[in-house]
Subunit: 309 residues, 2 copies
């Protein structure tokens, strides 16, 4: 058992409501939801559970929470459908699983994990991925389960703004993603990410969340990372693997590497977003270059913290 | 204009026929096909064309050639269908485009390029990607165009061996992919990769070819890479981005970095395959850790070379 004990961090996306649109009630609801998610992951880690199981539990809780853009509460594509992506990675030996463009599975992170544990593949898309979900006995839900009035209204507004030529770059339409990273008492790292993508996205678009090394990465020798933001920029920079590489090859401290990638490199190519990054020694940073990021963390024996801006 | 002039390298996959199965006639046919592909890319570069256009031309020629597993001649999935993946990356500013799980488009690399040039996205899958192909006016072909007797027989043999429990790990069933990297006279790099995947693969499986940083990568400041082999291993190692990172962060010469990733790291996790990697100074290596890799290269003012083992 490491002296540092466990660490768990979560995010509910960099697509926060602008401060002016955030009522005290709504802000309290977000903090409460983040607190419930932390508790779900923490209960695994306090029982000496594995980081892999803790990030699975935390991301399932984020997916089940309609406030966040993943699972229930996922945004709509421009066709009025859901296309969800998820990934999970085990820092022990870089095992990984991911799914892209799926609908109907209650918890996409469980399907990513089934791809990792039940197949020789890393990334599976569409109906082929759904066959694995059925074989694994995962829970499916109907359209009504995934429908939220707020996301539907957001799609209609986005389509109207596109038609009017008044579409702005409000991150609350672009950045919704959830994720978790954990270090367990045995010293192992894991990361998981899940998303409904961008409101009004084209059918078939795959962002950074299910791309190992872009939006999700974990290696016990370096760090665990889950990202949220402009997916295309995160893919071009291989953000999560870049942090790993800077620690491993550039001898940079994780916190310096993670901040440089988000604050310098991402900004330099016009990308916006953030990430949570946890080092093998328990160091944790949650940098973002936009207005806010729903986030929280808890350490072994400590009190949970949640933040938005 | 750089003194080094242009460099073009291509591969037709690490899934070469075992030496014992290769007749002199067949070997000559492979060399001739590789020569035609090099000529297609070379004609762009000798006319002072861009590396991006040269890798596009070379990969189109590889896709049109039924001997290689991409475009015409793509292998069959276990459902007897085609699902093709492709990616392209421009070393100037890391622009990239990729497609996964598409069928019917004559040249998947052109669709990857259309994603890069006509959308804000990097990776598009399935029917959403096909909408872009239609909007871009790309050529479609029917099933008969993509059908080759040899690939069909290979699927039947694979399914029979699976049923018998006698499936071996013959790389000729697993490693088919094509790709090209180029440095143009203006000093810009580009990379492109295209594949039909693995014979008998599950529907929906996405390998490393369309994953930026895994099977395909280009950055003018470091290198251009196209890989072929066990896709899942290449994804977990982020092979192409790892070579870039070792040059950029670890101050390793490109040739040393590329060889270490393939010969040491890939072998260490039980992965097999190879890649072509071209540095900004014109250095080129084509390492593989299996029996062979269909490959070739040509330099400004030089004679083309092609190799198999």
């Amino acid at each position: 058992m490491l002296a540092s004990g466990f660490v768990l961090a979560i995010h509910g996306g960099a697509g926060v409501l602008p401060r002016d649109d955030m009522s005290p009630e709504r802000e309290a609801a977000y903090h409460a939801a983040l607190g419930r998610v932390l508790a779900a992951g923490q209960s695994v880690l306090t029982a000496d559970g594995a980081a892999l199981d803790a990030v699975t539990a935390a991301v399932m809780a984020l997916e089940d929470e309609p406030l966040f853009n993943a699972g229930r509460g996922a945004v709509f594509t421009r066709d009025g459908r859901h296309e969800m992506d998820a990934a999970i990675m085990d820092g022990r030996g870089r095992r990984a699983g991911a799914v892209a463009g799926i609908a109907g599975v209650r918890n996409p992170v469980l399907l990513a994990r089934a791809v990792m544990e039940r197949t020789d593949h890393v990334l599976m898309a569409g109906t082929g991925a759904l066959q694995i979900a059925r074989a694994a006995g995962l829970a499916f839900e109907d359209d009504a389960y995934f429908y939220t009035q707020e996301r539907w209204d957001s799609l209609q507004e986005t389509l109207r703004m596109e038609a009017d030529g008044t579409l702005d770059d409000d991150p609350s339409r672009r950045h919704g993603t959830v994720g978790a990273v954990a270090l367990d008492r045995a010293g192992n790292l894991a990361a998981a990410t899940s998303t409904g993508g961008m409101t009004g996205k084209r059918a078939g678009r795959i962002g950074d969340s299910p791309i190992i090394g872009a939006g999700t990465f974990a290696d016990d020798t370096t760090c665990a990372v889950s990202a949220t933001g402009d997916g295309e920029a995160f893919i071009r920079l291989l953000v999560a693997h870049e942090i790993d590489a800077r620690i491993r090859l550039g001898a940079q401290p994780m916190s310096e590497a993670a901040r440089a990638v988000v604050i310098d490199d991402l900004s330099a190519i016009g990308g916006s977003g953030g990430l949570i990054s946890l080092a093998r020694d328990g160091a944790l940073v949650m940098p973002f270059n936009c207005e806010g990021m729903y986030r929280g963390c808890v350490r072994d024996g400590g009190a949970p913290e949640t933040h938005i801006y």
